[in-house]
Amino acid sequence: MALEKIVQVSGRGVPVPGDDIDTDRIIPARFMKCVTFDGLGDYVFYDVRKNEDGTERRHPLNDERYAGATILISGNNFGCGSSREHAPQAISKAGFKAVVAQGFAEIFFGNSTQLGMPCVSVGSDELDTLREAVEADPQLEITIDLEKKEVHFGDRSVPCEIREGARQVLVNGKWDPIQDLLDAAPRVDAVAASLPYMSGR
């Protein structure tokens, strides 16, 4: 199955400010009682978007000015906490194509990459500039360029970082490694046979 080569991601942004936004915040555990990921998009950031009676709270994701945004902008250590892929899945199923933040928790970053949803890091001052620009003009078009490692918005651009291995799999359309992993089956058997605990000895 050929995967899309993700070289550039363009769209409007929505800022969800704050550091250490954890996976429980992104998708509260009670919505993980499911056997498929379908429908998870409805519950992304649920507890900060909704009151207990289901009415909407003030939150950028409820703000009409940002409706249709496909790039999520947040703070440092985004996605910390649990390994639940439900978190990037919920973000992706809610229509997001990329996340820009100051930094990412490791498991979240890996899970997102494997879904073809780039997570790029920008410095804290540049992040403020980007966020302020989007707040001033929610229609602003943002482009994440994984070739040049830059984020363009309006007439500005700031450098962004992404782990080289992740960048490569995205731009080469190899972000889902399953085929590569399957291809090595004979070598897997050989390594397994060399390990007594695996070969049942």
Partner: protein
């Protein structure tokens, strides 16, 4: 130059370098549970792929099981659907399932070690971030997402970036009343909640040499709360002693060979680390969290931080956010804060030694009126042995509810949840907003004995004072 355990295990399990520079790593042991596996089995079905090494995968059910309702169907139809889905997936793919009727069910990170499945020198993966727990045995254990669960089921391998290794030495002696939980909370507080990003933590030093396996597990469990995906302790006699005779441990002549092999994986004395951190055991006091991440922690006799104490604007913002959520005032003592719920359990502190230690002090005491106190053994085996020892009676007589095995109030996927802005003294590992099931609910992480102290007094207390634990003479 010598090699660290991490490097040795990595090299032994490396299948090849992938075109993108990642390593395809063989995963020796795969643990699964009901929350993160159904979608992975679904992906396998979609592609028509079988489970490649079914006998290297072990399943249990923990997150959604109600701990006060033993009969199926469960009153929550979603929970019932999830347990049935796991049962079906395991049966279809010939995966061993420690179902609720086997007497072996429990929290995945408690079951693996107690069955002897978790062994030194192995690679382990599980769709759960606290998989780092298994590193206590000198294994390299990764928490993974569901797509990687799919990869491991289909290929018994996954694509990974090699980690750097930070050695954390904790030398000296812990004071009485200071536990493994305090050690890890102190480490996270010192190095930060994302200080471990990109690292495997190797825990070492006198304190770890003297720790039991269960204490080592408590520390390794919370590595991820410090940003480190992997945490481990080098295997030694304590490790082998623990494993001997366990159901899945090697037997007879295989045992001796296994011990020799396991020893060879321990870090060489002359290996170089990417970073070394030294911590003095004597500096650590009973530690409690005051905020909304596990790094927001203080010693029991310290005041809650004030916003102005943040070094940067973002630190000040996060202190302010935490104080607002916790309904705390900066600069005031945390000791004496009224609690509503006391939760003893979870994969961090739901093991037999945790229950024993608490029971030792709880005997003859009573939970303060108005406090809901629950004790949830981490596995059916823990519950059974605890009951044989009569610990259940001690807990019941003190006013604790004695429950069945599961994750319970560690997270909100079963009926055990906080209500409104209840404050919970909890032996679990996460104090994120909403973690325990109420958006406004509040969590204070602490050691099991500190949970017991809070239960007995009805407020955040110093267990050493409540239970008369004295400093050793001359200290």
């Amino acid at each position: 130059m010598g090699k660290s355990l991490f490097e040795k295990v990595w090299e032994a399990h490396a299948v090849r370098e992938l075109p993108n520079g990642q390593t395809q790593l063989l995963i020796g042991t795969h643990l699964i549970h009901e929350v993160t596996s159904p979608q992975a089995f679904g992906m396998l079905r979609e592609r028509g792929l079988p489970v490649r090494f079914p006998d290297r995968t072990f399943a249990t059910v923990d997150h959604i099981v109600p701990t006060n309702e033993l009969q199926e169907p469960y009153s929550d139809p979603l929970a019932q659907a999830m347990i049935e889905e796991l049962r079906k997936n395991c049966a279809e793919n010939e995966v061993r399932f420690f179902d609720t009727t086997t007497g072996m069910q429990g929290i995945v990170h408690i079951v693996g070690p107690e069955q002897g499945i978790t062994q030194p020198g192995t690679t382990i993966a599980c769709g759960d971030s606290h998989t780092s727990t298994h590193g206590a045995f000198g294994a390299i254990a990764f928490g993974i997402g569901t797509s990687q669960v799919r990869d491991v089921l289909a290929t018994q391998t996954m694509a990974l970036n090699k980690l750097k290794v930070r050695r954390i030495n904790v030398d000296g002696q812990l004071s009485p009343g200071v536990y493994a939980k305090d050690v890890i909370l102190h480490i996270i507080r010192t190095l930060g909640v994302n200080g471990g990003t990109g690292f495997a933590y190797e825990y070492a030093g006198e304190v770890f040499d003297n720790f039991t396996m269960e204490e080592r597990m408590t520390v390794c469990n919370m590595s991820i709360e410090g940003g480190a995906r992997v945490g481990y302790v080098n295997p030694d006699e304590t490790t082998f002693e623990y494993l001997k005779g366990r159901p899945y441990a090697p037997k007879g002549a295989d045992w001796d060979a296994a011990v020799e092999r396991w020893k060879s994986f321990a870090s060489d004395p002359d290996c170089e680390y990417d970073d070394v951190v030294n911590i003095r055991a004597g500096d650590i006091a009973p530690t409690v969290t005051w905020g909304i991440n596990p790094g927001q922690a203080i010693f029991i006799d310290q005041p809650i931080p004030e916003v102005a104490q943040g070094h940067t604007a973002s630190e000040r913002a996060s202190i302010a956010e935490a104080l607002e959520h916790m309904k705390f005032e900066g600069g005031t003592p945390i000791k004496g804060t009224k609690v509503d719920v006391a939760f003893l359990g979870s994969c961090t502190n739901g093991r037999l030694s945790d229950l024993k230690e608490v029971a030792r002090y709880l005997e003859g005491r009573k939970v303060a009126s108005g406090i809901k106190a629950i004790c949830v053994p981490g596995s059916q085996a823990v519950a059974r042995i605890a009951e044989e020892l009569g610990l259940d009676k001690v807990f019941r007589e003190a006013g604790f509810e004695w429950r069945g095995a599961g994750c319970s109030m560690c997270l909100a996927m079963n009926p055990d949840k906080l209500v409104g802005d209840q404050l919970c003294a909890s032996s679990s590992n996460r104090n994120f907003k909403g973690r325990q099931g109420s958006v406004t609910g509040r969590t204070i992480l602490m050691s099991p004995l500190m949970v017991a102290a809070a239960a007995v007094t009805g407020e955040v207390s110093d267990a050493r004072e409540v239970f008369g634990i004295l400093e050793p003479v001359g200290a």
